[in-house]
């Protein structure tokens, strides 16, 4: 092989190595450029927590002192196609004239909906037999934490509940 031919081959190899890197780099760039808007579209709405809103759930005289009842609260900004799922159930108890306590229905074990047993004054979880006392403390079974609560207040004649993310996982 002549010297010239050798330099030409070396040049060619350099050129190939360069084109190889260039193509890989550009492909990576294309991927990056495309994935930024797509990932942002998918992820950011999830990470934006909606602020809590005080919702009227009825006038004080609709609740009897000492009674625990299931009430539904509406999602303050639902998706138009959310149907039944715009509503969330909570357990509300009137403890005194202006004293109310609101519990989430989600068991702290694995989020199954707990049932209030009016006479026994306990919340029973249908999934694995978790039991909570009337004040939300764990009475038996696998739940690791007391029943999560919602903030409640009385404004004039209205009982209001502060909306929050469904208490699944850390409370």
């Amino acid at each position: 092989m002549t010297d010239r031919a050798q330099t030409a081959t070396a040049d060619l190899l350099d050129r190939r190595a360069f084109l190889n890197r260039l193509s890989l780099l550009l492909s990576g760039l294309i991927g990056l450029v495309l994935s930024v808007p797509i990932l942002a579209y998918l992820l950011t709405p999830l990470l934006r927590r909606a602020p809590g809103v005080w919702l009227n759930i009825g006038t004080t005289d609709t609740f009897k002192v000492g009674e625990t009842v299931q009430v539904a609260i509406e999602d303050p900004s639902p998706l138009p196609w959310a149907g039944e799922t715009t509503r969330t159930a909570i357990w509300l108890r009137r403890d005194g004239q202006t004293d109310f306590t609101a519990f989430a229905v989600n068991c702290t074990h694995l989020a199954c909906p707990v049932n209030w047993q009016a006479q026994a004054k306990i919340f029973l979880c249908p999934c694995h037999g978790g039991v909570f006392y009337g004040d939300g403390r764990v009475a038996a079974g696998p739940p690791p934490r007391p029943l999560p609560r919602y903030d409640v207040r009385v404004q004039g004649a209205n009982v209001q509940v502060l909306t929050r993310r469904v208490p699944i996982g850390g409370d």
Binding site: L46, A82, T85, H128, G134
Partner: protein, 463 residues
């Protein structure tokens, strides 16, 4: 006729059927037995799922305000709708069963060894995806079970260290399980996982062609990576048979049999009951997964609370890791199960424990029975305190967890003959202070009610 021939010759030249594809179709494979049909049967099941899934997607509406109704329409009004849904449902069961059978077979005949380690790995990922499909598909029913199963799944995900809360956000996609959640599962079930599965199935098949169908293992003929390929080639030369049709006919026959079975189930039993529609304010829920996840369901219920997060997060991880390291723990050596007692023991162990756990999961004795009533055979001729105690036993929710005369829950001990075992004092003590997973009723019972309950219970004797 001539024209047709010329047209075919033209097409054949352009697509390379005779030169490139046909040789693959008739490539030589070793003589193997019927067990080797399991892989292709899993593939056929996958194809059935794709076809029926596409058909269902023509009608299904993935939005909480319409999903249930669209499924109801498919099931009860669309022509053959119930059969198509049934095919998709029973087909998924078939696919899970076949995939696990294929896995067990490949494991037992040591076909994961050199040079087919990556065949195994792609298979393991495909298995995981198959289960993910089964789970996400169940949620699309958008009935009560599905709704609460999403919450349950999110709650399990929240136990993952560090990223738990983020995972919950990703799963439920909003403040509550609702509008954004269902579309998420729909996209995952219909586009994301299937797309990945297509790629992986392609890879899996390509690898089967590249390394050849493993020959039947013979005891005393270990795999030696240095000589294996040469031996395999010699074997193919000596007594290989063309894949099509000499082996493929078995695949076809088996596919026909399993396919007919699935169709039969779809026609006779149809799709599973939809049950009540998903409704966050309907708290009457007893979420139970489809059969393929009952083992996990049971395991969770039996795990002691302290170990629970470990079971939820660690167990699936551990099983996954075990599956991944299989080909690396024994890449060479004996293939025959007759010389691998531990392999046989492993399959038997996992088979039996999965079976036992699924049975327990199906019975779910740990779940309280709400709204149970004391049977008349017990309460029939009670009077006074005991009669009042019997009523209290139900209304105070004791019956939710305890059996009396065959009715009630099985979470706590059977109290049908508790009077034989415990004295009045012991009964009072247990009721007031609870313990052993029983709530303390001390603050909740009036002394009168306690007396009545104890009167009722101490009369529960075998004589």
């Amino acid at each position: 006729m001539k024209l047709l021939k010329r047209a075919w010759a033209w097409l054949d030249d352009r697509i390379g059927w005779s030169s490139a594809i046909w040789p693959i179709v008739v490539h030589p494979v070793p003589k193997v037995n019927w067990w080797y049909v399991l892989g292709s049967a899993t593939l056929i099941a996958f194809i059935v799922q794709v076809v029926t899934g596409v058909a269902l997607a023509f009608t299904y509406v993935p939005a909480p305000n319409a999903a249930y109704e669209s499924l109801d329409f498919i099931t009860n009004r669309a022509v053959f709708g119930n059969v198509v849904r049934g095919l998709h449902y029973w087909g998924s069961s078939a696919m899970v069963v076949l995939a696990f059978a294929h896995l067990a077979h490949v494991f037992l005949i040591g076909a994961f060894k050199f040079p087919r380690e990556v065949n195994w790995l792609t298979g393991v990922v495909l298995l995981g995806m198959t289960l993910a499909m089964a789970f996400t598909g169940q949620l699309l029913r958008w009935n009560q079970d599905a709704y609460w199963a999403v919450s349950l799944m999110a709650s399990m995900a929240s136990r993952v260290p560090l990223v738990g809360d983020l995972l919950v956000d990703i799963i439920i996609a909003g403040q509550t399980v609702g509008g954004a959640t269902l579309t998420r599962f729909y996209a995952t079930h219909v586009f994301l996982i299937p797309a990945a599965m297509f790629v992986l199935v392609g890879l899996h098949l390509y690898l089967v062609i590249r390394h050849g169908v493993s020959e039947m293992p013979r005891p005393g003929r270990p795999v030696n990576p240095k000589t294996y390929r040469q031996e395999y080639d010699e074997l193919l030369h000596r007594d290989g048979i063309p894949f099509w049709p000499d082996f493929a006919w078995k695949d076809v026959v088996f596919a026909l049999v399993t396919g007919s079975l699935v169709l039969l189930l779809a026609v006779v039993l149809g799709a599973p009951e939809l049950g009540p529609q998903a409704n966050p304010t309907n708290l009457e829920a007893h979420p139970k997964p489809d059969w393929y996840f009952l083992w996990l369901f049971a395991l969770l219920s039996y795990a002691p609370p302290a170990l629970e997060s470990l079971v939820i997060v660690g167990l699936p991880l551990l099983l996954g890791i075990l599956l991944v390291i299989v080909p690396f723990t024994a890449p060479a050596g004996e293939r025959s199960w007759k010389r691998r007692p531990w392999a046989v023991a492993t399959v038997v162990f996992f088979g039996l424990s999965a079976g036992a756990l699924m049975w327990q999961g199906h019975r779910s004795p740990w779940a309280p029975v709400l709204h149970a009533e004391v049977p008349a055979s017990v309460s029939g001729d009670l009077r006074g305190d005991a009669a009042r105690g019997s009523a209290l036993f139900a209304s105070e929710a004791c019956l939710a967890c305890h059996l009396v005369g065959g009715a009630g829950g099985q979470r706590g001990p059977d109290l049908t003959f508790v009077g034989d075992r415990l004295t009045r004092e012991q009964l009072i003590w247990r009721i007031l202070y609870g313990g052993n997973n029983m709530p303390a009723y001390g603050q909740m019972l009036s002394p009168d009610d306690l007396d009545a309950l104890v009167a009722f219970l101490s009369e529960r004797r075998s004589r």
